[in-house]
């Protein structure tokens, strides 16, 4: 199973083994990672599962679709070039070793 590391706002790190086909948002909320809120369950209407993808992995992520692109503009922290909504990051084998920083605040 691909390993993904989440960096919390307090710099602590959590490493999860996430099955291929599961989104980072679902894996994080299922494991009680509080920094990922995911209020709308992946519907691209809340922008509360915002993460920043660390160096070297951005091009391994699925392309940003229109609804995600729109919502990224309304994250509480504000958008940066490596911003993604983690509900759209569905894990593939390619993502093994991925590190994402949890945006703060989400709400």
């Amino acid at each position: 199973m691909p390993k993904v590391t989440f960096i919390n706002p307090d710099e602590s790190r959590i490493e999860l083994d996430i099955p291929v086909g599961t989104s980072l948002m679902r894996a994080a909320t299922a494991h009680g990672i509080d920094g990922i809120v995911g209020d709308c369950g992946g519907g691209l209407t809340c922008a509360t599962c915002h993460v920043l993808v660390e160096d070297g992995y951005l091009d391994k992520m699925p392309a940003v679709q229109a609804n995600e692109d729109q919502m990224l503009d309304f994250t509480a922290m504000g958008r940066s070039p490596c911003s993604r909504l983690s509900c759209q990051l569905v894990v593939t084998e390619d993502m093994d070793g991925l590190t994402v920083r949890i945006a703060d605040p989400q709400l």
Binding site: C40, G41, T45, C46, A66, D73, F74
Partner: protein
Amino acid sequence: MSEAALSTKTIDAPVLEIDPYSLEVLRDPYPFHERLREAGPAAFIERYGVYAVGRHAEAAIVLNDHARFTACGGIGIQDIRKPGDFRIPNRLLENDPPGHTAIRATLTKYLSPIVIRRWREHFETEAKGLVEELVAKGEFDGVEDVAEAFVLKVFPAAVGVKLPRKEILAIGEMRFNQSGPPNELYHRAMERAKPYLEWFENSVRREGVTPGSIAEMLFDAEDRGEFEEGIASNMVRSFVGGGTDSTITGIGHTLNKLAQNPDQWALVKADPNKVRAAFEEAIRLESPFQVTYRTTTGQAELSGVQLRPDTKVGVFLGAANRDPRKWQEPDRFDVTRDTTGIHLGFGTGAHICIGQMIARLEAEAILRALVTRIDRLEPAGLPRYRPINQMRTLDHLPLRARLG
């Protein structure tokens, strides 16, 4: 024949002779839903010449594939591009990308989650006030005195439209019957709404909306060229239609299920954060929008079933939300179930409900206020459903609040 050859063989959709819009089905849609799911990935509804989909997986495929299943033919059973249908098309919903994308992007600017979250405190204050009135009454109607009273108090004001109760309920009933076939319900609802049509047209015009509101901002955006002409008014119309009856209904179903299931009430009482899960589960179990349509653009294959071109496909969200292929014990109301973003009650794909965070905020505010203030919620009589072609909605819900 080899197995590979068998697996690529496609069949025509099995024919169902049932009328999904008969009063019998509308009063209790679940036996029809089961027949539909068991018939196959898609069935053909002989009476109306349309396809119907009731399984979760295929429902999601249809809603996510606008190239093969267009929304431009309208979300009702009739094709709005053909003569005979008098509805005013929703220019966001009854539209495909890329035209849809541009309108949705602009709308999202004015109705973003940041804007919506600012309403929380006000909604909570209003909810507490209403719950005090309910406690004083002791017995009340979960639809009229709770869901309708709360939604009509906070939602129109938040977006900037004026919605008196009698008018808006008649208009809603017309709209959600009009998206079905021209049956008796349809004609009766049109007749009843007639006296209010002019009022409705005026209330979605610039002059009718509240100065300084989101609705007015949409008209200003249109003046600046952010929307094509006519979109602002069409969007205000779409909020009123999409956002009022649906939320009232969803809150009503949640109250009904909580009153009927004391064990689930106890879970929510012990942890009021669970009111959100309760609302979500009620939307799964009694989906306010039961069905939405797409139209095949060409010959299309859906999980081995061949669909004819230019034909309506009814996506029965309520059936998908109880599909045993997706859910364990699908008919059970269970607030611990993982449903948010998985059930299709808010749709999926490009048109997924843009107002869902508003609906959740309203539901959370009123349900939390109730759960924290009272100890038990009990049925005080039998609930009554109101048959509407496109919706699953409660008419009366007698409830009793118990303290201590």
